[in-house]
């Protein structure tokens, strides 16, 4: 498969992620969509790394994975904490502050 | 070497020191503040003597000139310099501040901060008059604004916040435009100097270099650049003076500020605007100023007559005086932009005179407001019999303000108008016409307060019934008398001032004409 196939795939995944962020109200799903975006980029990196014959891309992938894991930890902790206090984690309910 | 710095920084440091006084020691705070202002006045008198001993010009390196490297790469230096024009205005400021602090003993709330702000205000104004680097000038220009804002907004009358806001916004718009001008002038001067062959010429904000008085790096700005830069500078000064139609802040500010602050605003601060025109706009942009001068003159004349007419029907004491102040400043501007020796000397002389006279008028308006609690003219009347001394002092100031020959304002107004007349007959005649409405509204003002029969209703009559209105106290007399003496003295012997002003004006005119010839 040519490089462009990987890149198009990656772009599609990324777009799905973006749309997910925009249309879902549950922070867990939104969070998953963001993970999808990150992983879409990972796909690009891996493909590029291979086609460019460069190690940079793979290093990126490792780091992104690590970061994504950390984000999961933090994100879930936040969601749990909010749930404990409000018993509701709908992001559209979170607009005390505006204007 | 540090004389000028000492003059500028003394009130500032004194004001800061004042903040460490215990809040309850109101009397000590007041006396200390007055003492500081008086010491500052002595310092300035020392400066006067020093200047008179060895007359110096603006950039001559003498002990009345300081220059410390601050950041030469950006042309920023801590440079102070002075000539006769600065000298008289510095003296005026120091005098008025001392007087106004003396007149502020009635301020009861937050005395400490009030006094500190007054002293800071003084520092700012002195700095403006003495700075000879544009960056420094701008710093002092803004340092002047902040205390004025607080003094007006915190200790003022009912609509003080609105007035303070308007004041600051108007002034800031102007001064920010000036900031643009300041940043740009150094750059364009550098470009011009490099184009003229000075390859190693840097960005500079040193007034002496911008005026091409130094041996190297002569850069002459072309006409269009000059005009744009001039407009930027003029914006700040026109608001401060104020020229109409940029004066809308003034009636509010002057009427809402506490009287001593108004006296200082009108007496000293408004002069910084004219000074800016004289010290910066005219020498820096000699060509453009010739283009712009007719418009400024027209604005000045319109302002003179317009505000005089407005003053006729004002019902608020301090607003009336405010409009009268704009009208008189128009005369000053008219004299300045006549570009004649008489007009410019008269204009500087009139700045001093106007400062003194307006200060007395506003202080007296403040005394009256303190006694009666009202500023409405209709409430007053027939007070001369009750408070003769106050009436006399007010009458003298009113006469001075309307330009009675023999008193101080006449000298400056006469010279200004003479210069204006020589430059442009129509404008001169129209400007001179102001004496008629001026006499009209000032007498209406005086008569409305002091002559006739007391009003039968309103705050004044209530006060009269309650226990009478007292004549000037000794303290108030002590505050007013020095200014009254000056009103007479300058009227009789203006040569004392013109002797100082005239040579400096001649220098400015020389810059103007030599640059124009080029």
């Amino acid at each position: 498969m040519p490089l462009s196939a990987y890149l198009i795939m990656s772009a599609l995944l990324f777009t799905i992620g973006v749309i997910g962020v925009l249309i879902r109200r549950n922070p867990l799903i939104i969070f998953m969509s963001i993970e999808l975006m990150l992983n879409a980029v990972n796909l690009s990196f891996v493909a590029l790394s291979h086609f460019l014959d460069s190690a940079d891309g793979q290093m990126f992938v490792f780091l992104v994975l690590t970061v994504a894991a950390a984000e999961v930890v933090v994100g879930l902790a936040l969601i749990v904490s909010i749930y404990r206090r409000r018993h509701n984690i709908d992001v559209d309910e979170m607009n005390i502050m505006r204007g | 070497m540090f004389f000028l710095s000492a003059v500028i920084l003394f009130p500032l440091l004194g004001g800061l020191a004042l903040l460490f006084f215990p809040r309850e020691q109101v009397r000590a705070i007041r006396m200390t503040a007055l003492g500081l202002a008086l010491i500052e006045l002595l310092l300035v008198l020392g400066l006067d003597l020093a200047y008179l001993q060895n007359s110096v010009s603006l950039f001559s390196s003498s002990f009345l000139h300081e220059s410390w490297r601050w950041f030469p790469d950006l042309g920023i230096n801590y440079s102070l310099g002075m000539d006769g024009i600065s000298l008289v205005l510095v003296s005026l400021t120091a005098l008025l501040t001392a007087i106004c602090i003396g007149a502020s003993f009635r301020i009861e709330s937050k005395v400490k901060n009030y006094m500190a702000f007054m002293l800071l205000f003084e520092s700012g104004m002195l700095g403006v008059f003495l700075a000879s680097n544009l960056f420094l000038f701008y710093i002092f220009w803004e340092v002047m604004l902040i205390p004025a804002y607080f003094l007006l907004g915190t200790w003022g009358g009912e609509r003080r916040i609105y007035a303070a806001f308007k004041f600051v916004i108007y002034t800031s718009v102007g001064s920010f435009l000036m900031l643009v001008g300041i940043i740009a002038i150094g750059y364009y001067h550098q470009l011009a100097a490099v184009a003229a062959g000075g390859t190693s010429c840097g960005y500079t904000l040193e007034l002496s270099q911008l005026l091409n008085t130094s041996a190297t790096c002569h850069g002459v700005l072309d006409g269009t650049t000059q005009l744009w830069l001039l407009l930027a500078f003029a914006a700040a000064f026109a608001v401060k003076v104020p020229l109409i139609p940029f004066h809308s802040w003034l009636p509010d500010a002057y009427s809402e500020a506490p009287a001593p602050v108004t006296a200082l605003l009108a007496g000293a601060m408004s002069k910084t605007g004219v000074y800016g025109f004289l010290r910066l706009c005219i020498p820096l942009f000699p060509q453009a100023i010739h283009t712009l001068a007719p418009y400024i003159n027209v604005l000045a004349v319109v302002g003179i007559l317009y505000c005089a007419v407005l003053a006729l029907m004002q019902t608020d004491l301090k607003r009336l005086l405010g409009y009268s102040s704009i009208s008189h400043l128009g005369v000053i501007m008219l004299g300045l932009f006549s570009f004649t020796a008489q007009g410019m000397t008269g204009s500087v002389l009139q700045m001093v005179n106007h400062g003194i006279t307006t200060a007395v008028l506003f202080l007296i308006a403040g005394f009256l407001e303190y006694r009666t609690g009202t500023r409405r003219l209709q409430d007053y009347g027939g007070l001369a019999a009750r408070i003769p001394w106050l009436a006399v002092m007010m009458f003298i100031a009113a006469l001075s303000s309307l330009g009675l020959p023999g008193l101080n304002s006449f000298t400056g107004e006469f010279l200004s108008l003479l210069g204006a007349f020589r430059a442009n007959v129509t404008l001169g005649v129209l400007g001179t016409l102001v004496v008629v409405p001026a006499a009209w509204y000032m007498l209406r003002f005086f008569i409305g307060l002091m002559w006739g029969v007391p009003a039968t209703e309103g705050a004044v009559s209530a006060n009269l019934r309650k226990g009478g209105i007292r004549d000037l106290s000794l303290g108030e007399l002590g505050v007013i008398i020095p200014l009254i003496i000056l009103i007479f003295y300058i009227g009789v012997q203006p040569a004392v001032l013109t002797g100082i002003i005239d040579p400096s004006v001649a220098n400015t005119m020389q810059v103007l004409s030599s640059a124009f010839v080029k």
């Binding site: - | 020959p405 006469f414 010279l415 003479l418 001179t432």
Partner: protein
């Protein structure tokens, strides 16, 4: 000699300062000592200077002494100096002399006033200012004096400052005088522009271009018209009668109002350069003389009659100056000072005796009670009516003679008309003066019985006046009217003597004494040798007709009012027009004052309030509104924010895609 002239200036100033600062605490005798002393010593100094001047040869009589350097600005440099020459000497003598008499008189007149000290302080200040005006050696200090006498006049008109009418009159006087100052300032600007200096010595020998000279002369005359109450700036003078009567005598009859005459005489070289301006001077003078005389015919307030008479007489003086006969103008100034001061002081004595009554309808029959006053008043009336041999005859005769001679010389018919006006005015003068005299002194006393519908003083004003503790305390019974005390009658007598003999300092050429003309000889020859020399026949025609007019006027007055004055309503529109002083005040009010005030109010409300202040508010509202609107973007919803970010992304990517 010059040192003394400085003292003439400084002594009254000193008196003013002492009285002004300490007068409040001084006993009356001390006040009088200072007040009289200052003026008396000034007169003494002036007199000594005068005699020493007489002792010097005519060519060396001018002394120009610099006192100090006043100001310098560029090429403009000015010293304060004293110019003592015959002209200023004459003025000094009149000012200090008449001034002294009025100082003395005032001690009696103002005896009951609580502000006694203030009055003398002001009088001394006036003397100082007037001396400054006449003794200054340059136009600028002339202007200083000019302004200061205006101030003195203001203070003295408004002396009873609790009376609304007095206050209004004072303000009016000052503002109109400022119009004059305006003219004078412009004249000075022009003079400086043309001559480069302002001292008389330099300016009066300088030749200006014709147009400039005319402009200068006319502007100077604007000042003169304002100060000397000529058309169209005369309105303040009748109102100025609100001041105490000695003030009217001193300032508004004898001295200050003649400053204009002095100025024209002083600046005659400038006027000589501009025939047009002189024609204006003569024309305005004649017109004013007639105009004011007509108003004086029907006035009821005795001081107002005198005021209009003063305006009319000043018109004569300008008429003389308009035909180049400056010394005749000065001559009439001097004699007028005597008899008009006398008339005012006499009127003052009457008013004093009647406790403040000024209305002719409430007088009458006072000859029996006020013998000295009546006699001196009669002398003054005869003098002003131009009856030989009283002072007025000589001076008026000289003026009319010069006008006729000038008309004859130039052949200009306007000067004949001017002369005719002069003769007519002379007759009217005689008429209204004797109407006044008979109204006061002849017939029966009308004060206690007649309740006249008073249309000059309203009730309100009387209440205010009562508050001032003066003026019109109610009718006085005839038997309790007493003639004035010596302190007041002695000045009357001295002035009466002067009114009788004062004319003899003028020319006696008419009576075959061609060399007898002390005043004209004393004044510089240039001040009258521009005047036309008429033949003796012409002189006699003029003299005879003016005398005849005077006698006719007196005769008519005798026929109408010899048995006492009786006021009759008259609905004749012409009478009403004149009676109401041609409605000038009303017209002025409607045409100038009210529109200006309305303009002020309108501008203040709409332009200042709505446009400028409203504009500032509007801009601030605009920004706040924009801000409030933009805040709506900030919904608080996380997904909206994300959408915003995405939009930004799309815009940027589209931009690059399109561009790239």
């Amino acid at each position: 000699m010059t040192n003394l002239s400085l003292w003439v200036l400084l002594l009254p100033l000193l008196g003013f300062i002492i009285l002004g600062l300490a007068g409040r605490f001084m006993p009356r005798t001390a006040i009088l000592a200072v007040g009289w002393g200052a003026c008396g010593l000034a007169f003494l100094c002036a007199a000594i200077s005068f005699f020493s001047m007489l002792a010097t040869p005519a060519a060396q009589r001018t002394s120009d002494q610099v006192v100090y350097h006043w100001i310098s600005a560029g090429t403009f440099s000015l010293d304060f100096g004293l110019l003592l020459d015959p002209l200023s000497m004459t003025m000094l003598l009149v000012v200090t002399g008449v001034g002294l008499l009025i100082h003395i008189y005032s001690a009696g007149y103002m005896a009951d006033d609580p502000s006694f000290w203030r009055f003398f302080a002001y009088l001394n200040f006036f003397i100082f200012a007037m001396v400054m005006l006449v003794i200054a050696n340059n136009f600028l200090f002339l202007l200083v004096g000019w302004g200061l006498v205006g101030l003195a006049s203001y203070l003295l008109i408004g002396f009873w400052y609790q009376r609304r009418s007095a206050v209004a009159a004072a303000q009016k006087a000052f503002v109109i005088n400022v119009i004059g100052d305006f003219g004078l300032m412009l004249a000075i600007f022009l003079i400086f522009q043309g001559a480069g200096r302002l001292d008389y010595a330099g300016v009066l020998t300088h030749t200006f271009p014709a147009a400039t000279a005319t402009a200068i002369a006319l502007l100077l005359f604007v000042a003169c018209a304002a100060k000397s109450a000529q058309l169209p700036l005369y309105m303040w003078l009748p109102d100025a009668m609100e001041g105490p009567t000695p003030v009217s005598a001193l300032i508004h009859a004898a001295t200050m109002v003649t400053a204009g005459v002095y100025l024209v005489a002083r600046a005659y070289p400038l006027f000589e350069q501009s025939p047009a301006a002189l024609a204006v001077v003569a024309g305005i003078g004649g017109a004013t003389a007639l105009f004011a005389a007509t108003i004086a015919l029907f006035q009821l307030d005795i001081k107002r009659v005198l005021a209009y008479s003063t305006i009319s007489q000043l018109g004569y003086m300008f008429m003389a100056e308009g035909v180049h006969n400056y010394s005749a103008g000065i001559f009439h100034l001097v004699t007028h000072a005597f008899f008009k001061a006398l008339l005012f002081l006499g009127a003052g004595a009457v008013i004093h005796a009647l406790a403040g009554e000024q209305d002719m309808r409430k007088m009458g029959g006072l000859w029996g009670r006020l013998r000295v006053t009546g006699l001196t008043f009669l002398i003054a009336s005869l003098a002003i009516s131009g009856i030989i041999p009283f002072a007025g005859f000589w001076s008026k005769d000289e003026i009319l003679g010069s006008v006729l001679a000038y008309g004859n010389q130039t052949g200009n018919v306007w000067y004949y008309i001017l002369w005719a006006i002069g003769i007519l005015t002379a007759g009217m003068t005689a008429f209204y003066m004797f109407r006044l005299f008979f109204g006061i002194f002849a017939g029966d006393y009308r004060g206690a019985s007649v309740a006249v519908n008073d249309n000059t003083n309203g009730d309100v004003e009387e209440q205010e006046a009562a508050a001032a503790g003066h003026h019109h305390a109610g009718p006085v019974r005839y038997n309790s009217i007493h003639d004035v005390a010596p302190v007041m009658s002695i000045p009357l007598i001295i002035l009466a003597i002067l009114s009788v003999i004062g004319g003899f300092i003028g020319s006696m050429a008419l009576f075959g004494l061609p060399n007898w003309s002390p005043l004209a000889n004393f004044l510089p020859a240039a001040m009258h040798n521009h005047a036309a020399e008429g033949s003796l026949t012409l002189e006699w025609i003029s003299t005879g007709l003016s005398l005849l007019a005077g006698v006719l006027g007196i005769g008519m007055a005798w026929r109408l009012y010899g048995k006492g004055f009786a006021f009759k309503q008259n609905s004749n529109p012409l009478y009403q027009l004149v009676f109401h002083k041609y409605y000038v005040d009303e017209i002025l009010n409607a045409v100038l004052i009210i529109p200006v005030l309305a303009l002020s109010r309108t501008l203040s409300r709409y332009l200042e309030g709505d446009v400028l202040d409203g504009g500032s508010r509007g801009i601030s509202t605009l920004f706040r509104g924009t801000s409030t609107f933009m805040r709506r973007v900030q919904t608080g919803y996380m997904r909206n924010y994300a959408l915003g970010i995405l939009l930004g992304v799309v815009v940027i990517i589209v931009y690059y895609a399109v561009r790239g």
